[in-house]
């Protein structure tokens, strides 16, 4: 573990000495909770409609696919008209597009960012690499199955997929959302132990709390 995360002795201003355990004192340790849908179906439907019509993508390009997503916002493809836009912070984003191959180092950041998004949240795997490793199938440092680590709602195959197929993927996601089937966040909470196990298996220097609030 990094030295800054190890417990340390600190002297307070009154001379009293005490221990600070960063992981305990600076991070929330609560596990993720399963959040049920709204009590009234009609309200949940309204929410699902809104969620489907307002998809905010986290601006985090994890691999080479990131550069392929730019055209989506150009006049030619104009994803805005589907209510899709980018947000710079995971707190405000709903959709995490894993854009291409995912190295272990990046996976750690992806997990952090994913966990900082709010329920409901969606993951789209973009390109072959997220599905089975693609051309990095024999790499020492690239994961092969994204759904081992995060709940994935939609995969978009291709290397790279064209913007049209991306749009298609997003439409598919919208459909799932509207049908109330995009419950990845709750799945993640429910199968938290399994996901963590998988994540920790590849991330050897796990230096963060189990769940990054």
């Amino acid at each position: 573990m990094k030295p800054e995360l190890q417990p340390r002795r600190v002297t307070g201003p009154d001379g009293q000495e005490f221990e600070v355990d960063p992981l305990r004192d600076y991070y929330c340790e609560a596990p993720p909770a399963v959040h049920p849908p709204a009590y009234l179906k009609i309200i949940e439907d309204l929410f699902n409609w809104a969620r489907a019509e307002s998809i905010w993508i986290l601006g985090f390009g994890t691999g080479c696919g990131a550069i392929e997503m730019r055209p989506l916002m150009t006049p030619r493809f104009d994803a805005y008209r589907y209510g899709i836009q980018w947000r710079p912070t995971p707190r405000q984003a709903n959709l995490f597009v894993i854009s291409g191959y995912l190295s272990v180092k990046t996976l750690k950041r992806v997990i952090r960012s994913y966990e900082q998004m709010q329920n409901p949240k969606y993951v789209v795997g973009l390109g072959s690499c997220t599905i089975n490793g693609g051309m990095y199938w024999d790499s020492y440092n690239t994961i092969k199955r994204l759904d081992d680590y995060l709940p994935v709602d939609v995969y978009i195959a291709g290397c790279m997929p064209r913007p049209e197929s991306l749009l298609h993927g997003f439409m598919e996601l919208k459909r799932i959302i509207r049908a109330g089937q995009a419950e990845g966040a709750n799945d993640y909470a429910r199968n938290f132990a399994w996901y963590k196990d998988n994540q920790k298996r590849v991330i050897h220097d796990w230096d963060m709390p189990d769940y990054n609030w």
Partner: protein
């Protein structure tokens, strides 16, 4: 003017109208901007979807009490400002709570939301929030100055601080508007207006790439929804002040809609043309261009 209970439903009605108008108008403006770029742009009801979605998010976190109250302060500021200013001139229904205070109340209440928001954002402990607040506060101190000068010039001009009386003095043809009777003050005020609208070239506060969205970095879910509501209400409330002071106020809702839209478009037009200033650049810009006009306005008033 005194308080009567009937004013509460009237006020709610005002809020309802302005909120819906604002949601549609901002979408429309985004759509216009998109059309300029040969895009389709967002659907006209996009803002409703965003708002509902954010209210509908299931989970949320909190960094503490002030974090919780920040958006409440913010929206209170917006709603309060809207209610403290008479919306429609000559209408008893839509004079709202303007009996509580005059122009000065409106001028200072603007800061209420800013302060609360800054406190809330700061409690998140996020350095980007703090940087955003620094930038915002630094910029707004200088941007508000021409407005204060212009307001002072107008108050001198009409010898009153009551918004209703100022609007009354501008009735009877558009040549009576302050815009024409005191163009310097209006010029100063409109420059200040650009600075307070969080649009380019004065939007470095939010700088989405550099300091992810600035002060509201940590805000999400219903907090964000409250702030979005305010983002719709507050500029309109501010524009209502401008409209009343400089553009003859509005005697009916259609006139209100048109004037608000046009005034809003000023900042949009400037925004799509100019690139972004850094904070110190915008401070200097206000100091060199806007403040002297304001000073000229009060000296000549």
């Amino acid at each position: 003017m005194t308080f009567e209970w009937i004013q509460i439903p009237y006020a709610l009605l005002t809020i309802f109208i302005v909120l819906n108008y604002g949601l549609l108008m901002t979408a429309l403006i985004a759509k216009i901007a998109a059309r300029v770029g040969r895009r389709h742009g967002i659907p006209i009801w996009q803002n409703y979807a965003d708002l509902v979605k954010n209210y509908g998010l299931r989970s949320s976190i909190t960094h503490g009490v002030m974090f919780y109250m920040g958006p409440v302060f913010r929206l209170t500021g917006g709603v309060g400002l809207l209610l403290f200013v008479p919306t429609i001139y000559g209408s008893v229904m839509f004079s709202n709570l303007s009996f509580a205070g005059d122009l000065i109340l409106a001028l200072y209440f603007v800061f209420f939301g800013t302060l609360g928001m800054a406190l809330g954002a700061a409690e998140s402990g996020h350095p980007y929030s703090a940087i955003g607040i620094t930038r915002g506060l630094s910029q707004v101190t200088m941007a508000e100055l021409p407005l204060a000068l212009a307001v002072f010039a107008v108050a001198l001009h009409y010898q009153t601080l009551s918004i209703t009386e100022i609007v009354a003095a501008q009735q009877g043809g558009f040549l009576n508007w302050t815009l024409f009777t005191n163009p310097l003050a209006v010029a100063a005020a409109m420059l200040a207006f650009l600075g307070s609208m969080m649009r380019p070239p004065f939007d470095v506060v939010l700088a989405p790439q550099e300091i992810p969205i600035g002060p509201p970095t940590e805000y999400h879910s219903s907090y964000l929804a409250l702030m979005q509501t305010n983002r719709v209400l507050f500029p309109i409330a501010k524009i209502v002040v401008y409209m009343n002071l400089f553009f003859g106020g509005a005697t009916s809702w259609p006139e209100f809609f048109i004037k608000v839209f046009l005034i809003y478009m000023v900042s949009v037009l400037v925004g799509v043309v100019f690139p972004r200033f850094r904070v110190e650049q915008s401070i200097r810009w206000f100091m060199i261009w806007a403040v002297p006009i304001g000073i000229l306005a009060i000296v000549l008033a």
